[in-house]
Structure formats: C-alpha cells, structure tokens
C-alpha cells in the first residue's frame, strides 16, 4: 500500500520471474504496455503464464519469442492489420504451448470475480459450445488442475442452477488473480492515481484482480490535476505498486488522445510472424537490435511518430493515411 515506487522499465521487467502469472491492460491493438513487452523479451523470460481478456500484437510477440508456457484467453490477432494471431496458432498446432480457450465474456467474468474478491462469477454467456467440452480442458490434460498451484482453478468452470429465481442453469467462472497486472495508462498522478482515456476495457478489473500492479504511464501528472475529476479515474494510487513513466510506451498499439495504432508497423510484424525464422529476424531488428525504449523511438523516427500523434480535439490522428483513397 501507499504510493507506487517509481522505477525504470528495465527494473520493472526484472521483477517478473520465470514462471510468473501475468496479465496485460488494453484491448487487441489498443493501450498495450509494449515497452514492457519488449523488455520482457530482451530479458528472455520463460514459462510465463499469460491470462488476458483478449490477445493482440503484444501477446503474439511474447509467444513468438518463446516467453509463454500457458495462454488463457479467447482471441489472438491484429484486427485489420493481420487477421490471425499466427504465433499462438503455430503453437496450438505444434502443441508447444498450453492454450485454454474461453469466450470473451468468460474472461471478463473471471477478472470480475478476481477483482471483487469472489471465488467465481456466474454467466449465461457462450453456453452450449465446445469451449465447455471437458475433453478440451487443456490445463486438466496437462495435469495442472490438481490444486497444487493456487492460481490454477481445479475446474475450468462449473454449472449451477439459479437457487433464487428459477432462471435455470448458469456457468460459474473461476476467479483470475494473476501475480502481476502490467498496465499501460494514459495519465498517472505522482501518487499513483490512474486515468485511461475513452474506453476502459477491463483495465480497472485487472488492477484489482492482480496481486501486484506495474503501471507504464504515457505521462505522470500532478495528483491534484487528476483529483479535479475523480470520476474519470479507474484506480487509486494505493492499488499501484510500481510506476514507470514512458512516453510512446504503447507503440505500435494505439493510445486514445495520444497516438493512433501504427498500422504499417503492426502489418510488418504480422507479416514477419508467418514463420519463426522471419519472426526471429523481426525481433532481432526491433527488440534485440535496440538497446532500450529511447533507441526504439530513435529508430522509428520523429516524422513517423508525428504522423501518428492524435489531434487534441478528436483524440485520434487526422494525418495518417488509413485506406486506399
């Protein structure tokens, strides 16, 4: 409790140990803590257990770099800039990674339970599907639902009958309480109050669900500024353990009010992910071949970054060419 400790992104990644259970803020290709993802790859983390409401460019990079052993989620891809999450897909086919598929609503239910200190959350979403097929419970098949790991529930889900109103059967989704929430936020106060712009995704739930929270702030601002409009904030400073200030820390994903998704960059990483060899070359160029975040920004170049910068009135860039006309 108390104020978050201010550290560097390198120190933040150093806190994550091989085998830790992690999760990320954001939604598909928006507000992902990319600078931290790159640093985890640079530090060559192994056997991480990643649980997330949905995947995106960030998870593809971690999976491609061989950092992930268990992935619990519902979707992986790059939206318009690469339909399929090819690194997740390749490892499902090869069997190299344990993949536990839920629906988006199930993942949110799991984080809600985790956030609110509940063991489970009921839902009627995605019933009747193979997501619930007991033969497809990958963690059970790997022998990991024996109760020895307190972070892995002994069942993928359960079914219960509404005891109050006779509404019939519902699913009970087990709480998710990762060791670490790694969050990218628009603005963080100097005492740790967190604000994100526009859609909040599942960021507030994740912060509450995780044991420890690292926040990468696009900018650190005076607490008094955020406290003028407390209804716009999603977490109090006492919920945040570590704070890293890092402009452009979500690039190439988008940060509403600051910069757009870097479509060309994501497209090129997607193209590279079509084979492990070309992914490795991409990682050499953009992760191992740059010494740190500043070096990465230098390599991208100011003209390129400026084209992504959001219009302050609209919250998104009006200068990038998005289509064919």
């Amino acid at each position: 409790m108390g104020k978050p400790k201010v550290i560097s992104v390198k120190e933040a990644a150093g806190l994550i140990k091989d085998g830790d259970f992690i999760s990320f803020s954001g939604f598909t290709i928006w507000r992902r803590p990319m600078a931290m993802v790159y640093e985890l790859v640079r530090q060559q983390k192994k056997n991480l257990h990643l649980l997330e409401v949905n995947g995106g460019t960030h998870s593809e990079i971690l999976v491609g770099a061989g950092c992930i052993r268990i992935w619990e989620s519902c979707w992986s891809g790059h939206e318009l800039y690469g339909k399929l999450g090819q690194m997740v897909a390749a490892r499902h086919v090869s069997g190299e990674m344990i993949i536990e598929d839920y629906s988006h609503g199930h993942m949110v239910a799991r984080l809600l339970a985790g956030a609110y200190g509940l063991p489970f959350f009921p839902t009627a979403e995605a019933m009747g599907t193979d997501l619930l097929n007991p033969e497809y419970d990958s963690l059970a098949r790997a022998g990991l639902r024996d109760g020895s790991n307190p972070k892995i529930p002994v069942k993928k889900y359960d079914i219960a009958r509404d005891p109050f109103f006779g509404k019939g059967e519902l699913l009970l989704m087990p709480a998710a309480n990762p060791d670490w929430a790694i969050v990218y936020a628009s603005q963080v106060g100097d005492e740790g109050t967190v604000r994100v712009n526009v859609q909040t995704y599942a960021d507030a739930e994740l912060i509450k669900a995780a044991d420890q929270v690292i926040v990468l702030a696009e900018e650190v601002v005076p607490e008094s500024y955020l406290r003028r409009d407390p209804e716009k904030n999603i977490a109090a400073g006492y919920a945040i353990d570590y704070l890293v200030e890092l402009p452009w820390g979500a690039h190439p994903t988008g940060s509403q009010g600051y910069y757009d998704v870097d479509a060309d960059f994501i497209r090129s990483s997607y193209q590279a992910s079509k084979s492990q060899a070309s992914f490795d070359r991409w990682a050499d160029q953009w992760i191992f071949g740059v010494k740190d975040h500043n070096d990465y920004l230098e390599k991208l170049g100011i003209t390129h970054l400026e084209s992504l910068r959001a219009n302050t009135a609209l919250g998104y860039s009006t200068r990038i060419k998005r289509g064919t006309r």
Partner: protein, 269 residues
C-alpha cells in the same frame, strides 16, 4: 433511382452487396452490437437510410457513438466520438449484453453448420488441430444473448458443413453439458433464451432458419443460381422456400458507402 448514367449501379462488388444486405437486417430502433469491418458499414448505412434511430454498441466499451470518421477497430477512439457512454468490457458484455439490451448483432465465422453453429477456433481435432483460427472472441457471448444475430461469411463447401469441427458460437441446436448431447438452444439457455441466429449472408445468397432452427435458402444474389449455392454448400440445403433474388445496392446506398461512410477506402478498398 435515377435512370441517368450512374456511377455505381452496374458495377457494385460482392462486398458492397454484403454491406447493403446486412444493413437491411437492421430495424429502426434496434440496439446493435457490431464488430470491426462490414458490420460497421452495415450499421452506419442503416442509420443513414431506413433506421435512423438504431444505435450501436462496440464491444471495447462505447455505447451509441456518433463517429464522424470510420473506426478501424472496435477499440478505436473514433467509435466513441459523441457516445452517450464510454465504459469497458464489463459494461458492454454484462451491463448491455447480459442484461438483455441487445437486439441485433453482426458476426462472422470460418465454418457454419445447418443449425447455425459457428467455428472460429480450430480446423481438425481441438487437441491436435491442423489449423488454429483466431479463437472465439466475443462471438459466442453475443450470439448467445442478442435477440437476433446475422452472420456474414464466405460461401464455400468446406465452410458450410454438416458438422463444424468445433462449436465456438451457439446456433439453434447445441451441446448440453456435461454430457454434450445436442438439444435446442432453448433447453440450454432456459430463461436466458432471448433468440438466436436470424440470417446468414454470404457472397452468393441470404439464408434464414425455420422453426426447428434449420437453415434454408432465402434469396440468391444477382449473378448466382440456386444450383451455384447448392454446389457451394456441404450439407443438404433446403431450397424450397427461395423468395427470389437479393435486391442489389441502390445508387443512393452506394454513394453513402463510398462517399460518406468509407471515403478513405478502409474496408471498401
């Protein structure tokens, strides 16, 4: 429409007809849950034509936005322009969807069976797949609890299957767990049964579902025949209820799509 030389009428492309056919599924006043791409074009076109009071929810957390620039993703800040509420996934998937506000949703998939069960997860056996797809995303949640859903798909024999390899998203006859026997959706959802798959729109035709939840051919797009559709369907398709040809895009619809909704050529290349 005018009989003067038209810019679009004779030269529309399959994607244009898909967008227009999808837009026509929107009823005025509908609360529509839309994903990235064609669904965005469809809801916006409907709002600018026959359904001005339809509103749109984007899964990432914007309710009833009034975008002035076409979003490229549901997480895009453009979705939230002039929205009535912005929030997060708990609000969209539970506050809006689970609580029963959603009338209509547009969804997609790689494989579909005659009951409207859709696969977006794997080809082959889940435990040793030949190909992994994107995964379910919110498709099964939305398909579970929206009153009507419309799937937009590619018409191919390998995609319209007797049985899909993995049921990612629930159609009209689904698996009742823990046993996995096939029953009507109503039996699984009980009082959470709000409706289900209403239509499937492909590059060749529009399909609907009868009282038993079995797919039938409704209209065939201009340039295709019932036989073309049958030849590209992997199950025995009911063609006894065909109403005729799908109405092509009008000049006005094409102008709206290309000049007002997607002038940058993001989805309509």
């Amino acid at each position: 429409m005018s009989s003067q030389t038209s810019k679009y009428a004779s030269s529309y492309r399959p994607i244009d007809l898909l967008a227009v056919a999808a837009a026509r599924e929107v009823r005025d006043g509908d609360v529509v849950f839309a994903g990235t791409g064609l669904p965005m074009l469809a809801i916006m076109l409907a709002q600018k034509t026959h359904a001005p009071e339809a509103v749109c929810i984007y899964e990432a957390g914007s309710m009833d936005g009034r975008p002035i620039d076409l979003p490229t993703s549901v997480g895009d800040a453009r979705c939230a322009h002039q929205a009535s509420i912005t929030a997060g996934l708990t609000e969209t998937l539970y506050g809006q969807l689970h609580s029963g506000y959603v009338d209509l949703a547009f969804l997609g998939g790689a494989e579909i069976d005659k009951y409207g069960n859709v696969n977006t997860t794997v080809l082959g056996d889940y435990n040793a797949p030949t190909k992994r797809l994107t995964g379910s995303g919110g498709n099964p949640d939305i398909n579970a609890l929206a009153r009507r859903t419309v799937f937009i798909m590619v018409q191919e024999k390998r995609r319209f299957k007797e049985a899909v390899d993995y049921i990612s998203s629930p159609g009209w006859r689904i698996k009742k767990w823990p046993g996995g026997e096939f029953v009507h959706k109503r039996e699984v959802y009980g009082k959470f049964f709000y409706g289900g798959v209403e239509a499937v729109i492909t590059n060749m035709a529009v399909f609907r579902f009868d009282k038993e939840g079995i797919m039938y051919l409704d209209t065939v797009h201009p340039g295709f025949t019932v036989e073309d559709v049958q030849a590209n369907c992997g199950f025995d398709l009911n063609v006894g209820r065909v109403r005729g040809e799908t109405a092509p895009p009008t000049e006005r619809e094409m102008e709206l799509l290309y000049q007002v909704i997607d002038p940058e050529g993001i989805f309509l290349l």
